[in-house]
């Protein structure tokens, strides 16, 4: 087969945090979420990126293994790299990832970064991520809350003037 080798994935990491947000929010839509809340908050030398959804959630076993790169619930696939890569990006800065999920209720993924760390990735183009989500899933309500040093941005796709 022509094209790049299939090892591409293992050589490519997400360049910035906004791409991780897109990836995790896409998981939320695939879980059937009608509401997806994206919270980005910078305070006390920490940057927290959280994606909360009301999708189908995961049972305890699935949730525990969700950031294992060799675990996936998708049929026909052997790897599931999204959460593993997010956890990797966070750990590289001395932070980490927390996954809280309840089957039938929803999932919250929260990644904590230490922005002063030399391996910190940039936030990237959060606007492009939100635009892609809003354009692709008009029936899903996306809320973005961004807080940094008194700056606050709020977007709610269900409350457009």
């Amino acid at each position: 087969m022509a094209g790049k080798p299939d090892t591409l994935l293992f050589e490519t990491l997400m360049e910035d945090l906004s791409l991780h947000v897109l990836d995790i929010a896409e998981n939320a839509t695939r879980a059937g979420a009608r509401n997806v809340l994206i919270e980005i908050a910078a305070a006390d030398a920490r940057l927290t990126v959280a994606v909360k959804d009301d999708g189908k959630g995961m049972d305890a076993r699935t949730s525990q293994r969700a950031s294992d790169p060799f675990y996936t619930t998708k049929e026909g696939k052997r790897v599931g790299l999204g959460l593993a890569m997010l956890a990797q990006s966070a750990r590289e800065t001395g932070g980490g990832v927390r996954i809280d999920s309840q089957y039938g209720v929803g999932t919250e993924v929260a990644a904590v970064f230490r922005p002063e760390h030399p391996d910190m990735r940039p936030l990237g183009d959060l606007m492009a991520t939100m635009k892609a989500l809003v354009a692709a899933f008009p029936a899903v309500r996306f809320v973005l809350d961004y807080t940094k040093e008194g700056e606050h941005y709020h977007f709610d796709s269900a409350k457009t003037p």
């Binding site: 087969m1 094209g3 790049k4 080798p5 299939d6 090892t7 591409l8 994935l9 490519t12 990491l13 997400m14 360049e15 791409l19 897109l22 990836d23 896409e26 839509t29 695939r30 910078a42 940057l47 998708k74 026909g76 696939k77 599931g80 790299l81 999204g82 890569m85 922005p115 002063e116 910190m120 940039p122 936030l123 990237g124 183009d125 959060l126 606007m127 492009a128 991520t129 939100m130 635009k131 892609a132 989500l133 809003v134 354009a135 692709a136 899933f137 008009p138 029936a139 973005l144 961004y146 940094k148 700056e151 941005y153 709020h154 977007f155 796709s157 457009t160 003037p161």
Partner: protein, 129 residues
């Protein structure tokens, strides 16, 4: 901390897109002339699928193509050929395009979605999977 470009984040732009997409939401019930699916699994996103999506959304908005939908689906199983898009035109078999860039995707929009001619150079051969 590296400076972020959150300052460039224009909430009004997002609201504009959200409003526009709500207007065409009824098309999703099967009335759309064409649907473009951008594959956005982890693999697609890492390979540049978001730029492909942005280019398509902006072109559709600019040209006011109200009967063309763009949506997202997850990994299609050919991670090494991402970014990929699938073009589904009403009453025709869907065509998958591989190794997309923003420019190539716009060419597919122009030639295939609007012009009705499959762009063979970028298409995945039907028996190749």
């Amino acid at each position: 901390m590296r400076s972020t470009n959150i300052a460039k984040l224009k909430i009004e732009d997002l609201e504009k897109i959200a409003r526009r997409m709500k207007k065409v939401i009824h098309l999703r019930e099967g009335e759309a002339k064409a649907k473009i699916i951008v594959h956005m699994g982890t693999c697609g996103i890492a390979a540049g699928a978001r730029a492909v999506m942005t280019a398509l959304v902006e072109a559709i908005e600019k040209q006011d193509l109200s009967d063309v939908l763009v949506t997202i689906s997850s990994c299609a199983g050919l991670c090494g050929q991402e970014p990929m898009i699938t073009v589904a035109i009403q009453d025709q078999p869907p065509v998958r395009y591989v190794n997309m860039t923003a420019a190539k995707a716009l060419e597919v929009l122009e030639k295939h979605v609007l012009g009705g001619r499959i762009v063979e150079a970028y298409a995945l051969a039907a028996n190749n999977k």
